[in-house]
Symmetry: C2
Subunit: 406 residues, 2 copies
Amino acid sequence: MARIVQKFGGTSVADLDCIRNVAKRVKAEVDRGSDVAVIVSAMAGVTNQLVDYVSQASALHDTREYDVVVSSGEQVTAGLLALCLQELGVPARSWMGWQIPIHADDMHGKARITGIEPDRLVKKFGEGQVAVVAGFQGVSPHGRIATLGRGGSDTTAVALAAALGAERCDIFTDVDGVYTTDPRIVPKARKLDKITYEEMLEMASLGAKVLQTRSVELAMNMGVRVQVLSSFEDLPGTLVVDEDEIVEKQVVSGIAYSRDEAKITLVQVEDKPGVAAGIFGPLADANINVDMIVQNISPDGGATDLTFTVTRADLNRAVKLLQDRRDEIRYKDLIHDAGVVKVSVIGVGMRSHAGVALSMFTTLAEKGINIQVISTSEIKISVLIDEEYTELALRALHTAYGLDAD
Amino acid sequence: MARIVQKFGGTSVADLDCIRNVAKRVKAEVDRGSDVAVIVSAMAGVTNQLVDYVSQASALHDTREYDVVVSSGEQVTAGLLALCLQELGVPARSWMGWQIPIHADDMHGKARITGIEPDRLVKKFGEGQVAVVAGFQGVSPHGRIATLGRGGSDTTAVALAAALGAERCDIFTDVDGVYTTDPRIVPKARKLDKITYEEMLEMASLGAKVLQTRSVELAMNMGVRVQVLSSFEDLPGTLVVDEDEIVEKQVVSGIAYSRDEAKITLVQVEDKPGVAAGIFGPLADANINVDMIVQNISPDGGATDLTFTVTRADLNRAVKLLQDRRDEIRYKDLIHDAGVVKVSVIGVGMRSHAGVALSMFTTLAEKGINIQVISTSEIKISVLIDEEYTELALRALHTAYGLDAD
């Protein structure tokens, strides 16, 4: 019998009506003759409430106790969904991480799954029972509850799908698939039938918040076919699969953007070895992640301008840190700007097609949009532009790469 | 080192300020040099919310899933209290029922503890660590979460105290001890320094809601010294101990009452063998508990009146059941009355003192209070009276038995 793993996020199980709706979706899959394991998140808002309790109890909290408190949300949903399935006449039981067990390391709060023993669960498939699994949790080598970090239920789903040798891992969410770009901005955006793991990874980390990055990596490494689809509509979603499964590769599959960017420019930094380390070392020590970096060549070998981006949340800390070290770093001026956006074109077809970057630059230039910073990878080109041009840029690029719906 | 078990109920851990207060109480015991295990309930209101979710999900619910959902409340409190203790510099960790483990049978929703393995917990005492234990839960023979029924955290506390050979089991609650009677009704009520297990059992089951009946039975059987005291004031409470520990025994220790009574009279029932069975059998089958029963002797051996009490919640069901079977049972009339109260005088000294019942009847008669039904046990006399006289009866009896405070 085909094994299917289904995962429902917090908004899909927000209240009892939603959970009943989920039960119906699960029943439909059971009725198609599949053995089903369902992974659930906490009801929307519950995890935030629990995290808030922990913060109130202890600012620098023991992550083991954080895990005890926060993991309770998924436990509640799992029990309730099992009950709702039983009400529909579908045999079901809930499973906590420690019951399966899902083994995890002891990096509490951001643990990694180290192994899953699916035998007990598979035995229950044989009795026609649906497994309702509390997401986001495993059991540590010391027998304590370990959570997998925010969004960890996606990871639970993919890891369990791999352990079960499942045919597919369906991630139900509040969007109905992965789009060529944000449909709220570009009405002509199209839902993709298929996307490769690599493209999805770039989409996920660039702000298309559909799947947790780690779960996509895991799916890629374990060869798990993932489908992203709506929990509210009964429509096919987007399949995330290996490149080999996609016959007709698009040069560009999608256009992502991230507003969570801020730009810092150090004016007239000395252009000599060790300067970059003197700037980025302290930022890394302060746990400030630097994304794009560009340094102008200095014509006379003297001073140069250095520009880079950080997340908006880190901007103030980064600026203060650099100002405090002005005497060591030696720069003439520090300019910062949170009014920027990163726009990226993504596609595995880029590898074999030249001219993708040129199209991007030409298209933006035609619209009078100035490119401030550029960074590229094998399957992606990202540019930093003025935030005001976000919508204009997305629409122009979407058309230029032939992604517009008919 | 002395081992002390402390238990804090829902109102004592109602919010984070309360939990911080509990942490201080625990620290005080640690500072006195004790090894401490703390049992916590869910935050006030949480269990009701979870039970409500379950009812919404499934009317006739699978009790195994009920337990998964409902037990999460204690899990949250245990984690939060461990964090608050750590904030005070007290090493602490939380323990779920399955982690200790606390073994329970598989009567989900009202499971009984079948054994506790305290070794891992005791080992942590050796490292100076306080054990914060989620109350109300154990792990079933099938590795599932089993809850002990409402108020089950008291049972967890007493059972763990027995397993640890604890010197004392302190039950912190929103009252500061056990009183001779309800102080809201009788201002001269006195707090008892000590009370026997047997008396406490009668007080508990008669509506003085201080300790769960089953936990008192367990304490009696296991010889655990229990103290009931306030979680909000730092005062000695009431010790519940073996009769041998009480030198000066009071004839009457306390006066309890229960408003949760309703009276049913079947008028002119046939007075012949098998009739009582024909009435009480069907009631028992319908899970309706009958408490006091009185049957008048029929002067002519023909028809007699039969009066008995049920809880108010069961009254309508009981009446309907008896009306439906009127043809089988054969009675002339059915009278019912929910306007009654059961008043009981309790004391182990009664065993060796005559005249306790007579004092009760005389006292009530002097106040013009009619006794409708009487029942007695070795250490208790209960009467059913008109609800209107509750306060008058309690005050008069309290004075008559010399219980008034100076």
